[in-house]
């Protein structure tokens, strides 16, 4: 990449590395202070730049990544307790609280709803596909 795209591209590279570190390691215990020092930022500077780049704090982003991963596992039918620890949360109550805050329903309710949807998709897939697409492609014949 050309270095003159932005005069502070070197800062962006370090912020993106920190974001990708969270993407790769969300399931582990992540200390955000460690990420900021690895990226050679003071904690305050790191928080400010991360928020500027992604519109949320590193901690908020980490929680979102963990909830997103939890949704994928719950959709597969994994047990709530297993999912909680698999995506890096310390306790089921805090996982449940954060999940509900983001999704509006508990992990258990989400899991049950997903199972029901999966069964419906298997039985009647064309209920989930706009008919204009199904018909024009001849899929529903």
């Amino acid at each position: 990449m050309k270095e003159d795209i932005h005069p502070k591209m070197y800062l962006y590279k370090r912020i993106v590395e920190a974001k990708l570190f969270i993407d790769r390691n969300y399931a582990q215990k992540i200390e955000l202070e460690n990420i900021s020092s690895e990226a050679s930022f003071s904690k305050y500077h790191f928080l400010r730049l991360f928020k500027q780049a992604y519109g949320k704090s590193p901690h908020q982003y980490l929680t979102e990544v963990r909830i997103s991963a939890a949704k994928r596992l719950l959709e597969k039918g994994d047990a709530v307790g297993d999912v909680c620890y698999a995506v890096g949360f310390d306790s089921i109550p805090s996982f449940t609280r954060l999940f509900k805050k983001q999704m509006g329903i508990s992990p258990k309710q989400f899991s049950l709803a997903q199972q029901k949807t999966a069964e419906q998709k298997a039985k009647q897939p064309f209920q989930f596909i706009p008919n204009c697409f199904a018909e024009s492609n001849g899929w529903n014949k």
């Binding site: 990449m1 050309k2 795209i5 932005h6 591209m9 962006y12 590279k13 912020i15 993106v16 974001k19 990708l20 500027q52 780049a53 992604y54 519109g55 979102e64 997103s68 998709k121 897939p125 989930f128 596909i129 706009p130 697409f133 199904a134 024009s136 492609n137 001849g138 899929w139």
Partner: protein
């Protein structure tokens, strides 16, 4: 009165490769993947944080409405980068550009100041192009 766009289609050469591009490179969520034939899926993705839009990754070749001849013509046009499908917005274009470049996304325009914000352009793995914009803050 139309209130919103819920589905939009992008024609792709290979659904599995397109899924990998949109999910693992652009960071989209997979919204639906329903088998509808041999190696053909109703496959939709969308940006995280926009739950009411599904982008359908439509296969051109297999089990679609197109004849073999039209499929071939359309595949060629897609590969040549004929079609631009839309504009994606991001919070910070330099961070997004840096991340996507690092993941191997091909850019045809580097971030550039425009009157509406800062814009870059990139191609998906099939050849469809998109604009990426950091909108000007009021």
């Amino acid at each position: 009165m139309i209130t919103k766009l819920s589905h939009a289609s992008v024609y792709v050469l290979d659904q599995e490769s397109a899924r990998d591009f949109y999910v693992n490179k652009l960071g989209f969520d997979e919204k639906m993947k329903i088998p509808i034939g041999e190696d053909v899926f109703w496959l939709t993705v969308g940006p995280k944080g926009q739950s009411d839009l599904e982008i359908t990754l439509m296969p051109i070749n297999k089990g679609t409405m197109f004849s073999d001849e039209v499929s071939q013509q359309l595949s060629n046009l897609v590969q040549k980068g004929t079609f631009g499908f839309g504009v994606f917005e991001c919070e910070d274009i330099y961070a997004t550009y840096q991340e996507f470049k690092g993941k191997g996304v091909e850019f045809t325009k580097e971030p550039t100041e425009e009157f509406y914000g800062i814009e870059a352009m990139f191609k998906d793995d099939s050849g469809n192009w998109f604009s990426l914009v950091q909108a000007k803050k009021e």
